[in-house]
Subunit: 195 residues, 4 copies
């Protein structure tokens, strides 16, 4: 629904870089490769960014920040008295669809980065984890979630599973709704057979 087709150049560069990282890995994301994708020469990128690091960092932040904003909105968009299951479901739905959504490659970038670079976005990621932690804590407080589990373990464990999604969603051909449904159902009720 955008009127202007042409994005600002900064955004185009970020897009190109994210694209390469997600499709070919961080090592393939050289300044020359990025430049080629936006029809430039490598040196020209430095007019728009101070360094390669600045590019990666911005992609990284833009990714989680968007995710943080979206999931937060999804939760707050529900009525005050919405049950835990519904809140969880909404959050998972948004998280997964953001990860799988086509043009949301910014969110996939993280998993392809060398550890040394990942560490840089730790703060923002911790903020995001806190969002989920609070969601679960509310569930426990209201008795809708089992208090038996240590949330400090449960939350990263659950998110960890969710984040692996893009890696295999492509090959399995599942929709984001299916994936979100599976995650919520197994998390809430487990998979033990009911006789």
């Amino acid at each position: 629904m955008d009127t202007a087709k042409q994005k600002p150049i900064r955004a185009e560069i970020l897009d190109a870089a994210a694209d390469i990282i997600v499709r070919q890995g961080y090592d393939a994301c050289t300044m020359r490769a990025v430049a080629a994708l936006v029809d430039m020469k490598a040196g020209s990128l430095y007019y728009h960014f101070k360094s390669k690091d600045e590019i990666v960092e911005e992609i990284l932040n833009q990714g989680i920040e968007t995710l943080y904003a979206r999931v937060g909105e999804a939760i707050r968009g529900l009525p005050q008295e919405a049950p835990f299951a519904q809140r969880l479901s909404a959050a998972v739905q948004v998280h997964v669809s953001s990860l799988v959504g086509k043009d949301q490659k910014y969110m996939h970038v993280y998993e392809h980065l060398p550890l040394i670079i990942k560490r840089r976005s730790r703060k923002m990621r911790e903020k995001y984890a806190q969002l989920w932690h609070d969601l679960f804590a509310d569930g426990v407080a209201s008795g809708e979630a089992d208090a038996a589990h240590d949330l400090r373990l449960l939350v990263p464990y659950f998110l960890g599973g969710l984040n692996r999604v893009p890696e295999w969603s492509r090959t399995s051909g599942a929709s984001s709704e299916q994936i979100a449904g599976l995650a919520v159902a197994t998390l809430l009720d487990g998979i033990a057979g009911r006789r």
Copy 2:
């Protein structure tokens, strides 16, 4: 069953490389760095390996192969009629402790590698996933696991969560038993509050 303490040189090289990758990242793992760790010069490594890639690939495979063997053994080591919950628990226990165990650095290597290299170990990893798939399928067949879930989604989702473990086990300070327990419990029974 080796008599001497000294490992064959090939193994020493693999060890050194794995060490560097896990501790300093893939980018720091140059042939010179590896050579230095085994008291050689870079060029000499080529007498033992055809290329750097061969080294990394071997580390990679050795990691999952060991994991595959161990988990397989753990399952087969149980009595034929052992209940699903017990088989699952045993498998998870071994998987997690292998990932967290200190000297099992070979298994940590994967998370540090660039995309292009990761892709190379796909075949072996699929074989490993199949092991788990079969475990779950048995559970479904015996009615001990809920047939409602598509195993093609469930298995990678579950393993995905498990594999994220080393990333946060260090900061949370949880033991591998705690982690395995949490994973099995939530998977089987969910976290929904029982009123």
Copy 3:
């Protein structure tokens, strides 16, 4: 005789460039740096100068030309029959104080330039050397200076020493009068002890 405080832009640019060269060295003197100092963008400088070289060359020439003019004036300002020692003293005084004077940065530029660029100002520098040569030749002609020395050697040797002045005047803390005095005294009478 300018009415306003604001120098013409060309002069401002030269000033900025000279400033950077003297304070941070020639390598730091990029078009961007110069532009920043005069509140412009690099490209805009090309409206005022054809190239970076033109800027540097102009600074260079302006430096020696000023020196040439000043020393020439100082000599011609003396009465026709002024003794050689006095003429020499006046010339040295002006030369040294120009080099050491705080706002005379244009004269310091030379010592920071790369060989290739230095070579370009040779002509102007030879003209300046000629000024000194003539001064000495007059001294010889009148018998006030020893005819034994080849002026083709003596003049550059003497000027060479004088030009090194700024390099150590800062650390020695000597005034330009002291320095000029020393130079004239040793040149005229030598340092051999008189018993």
Copy 4:
């Protein structure tokens, strides 16, 4: 008189670099240019030196250290009671001929370096200046040199003039003996005409 024509490669590289600096200036002394002169590719230089800086620094030190050693020897080689004029003459002679000597390009390098780099060899240069300072101080102590001059000014002034020598010795065509003679004579007795 050397038996082996082939110098060690390190020395060859230093030679090449010094050559370029002296003939074309520091800016022209790129790793690629140096490499070309020793029939190598730029990257290969890094097998022998850690960085470009290391090369320059070594040239710099080698230059003054040799000079320091030679001049020191020349002075100490004279009989204990040699008069000041003779000692001075010997020192100047060695200094000048070292600067002008064909294969002594290492000593010319200094004058072509950007100030920032020059500063690095300050310590060694101060040591060298001290050598001269002592020589003059001895002369003053014995009454052979005029005590009226501040040696802290005189020594750098004199050396400064001497160092400018190579710049014009080529064009003037004077021999190093002539130059040294001129320097010693004017320094000792001045140029004032004797009536």
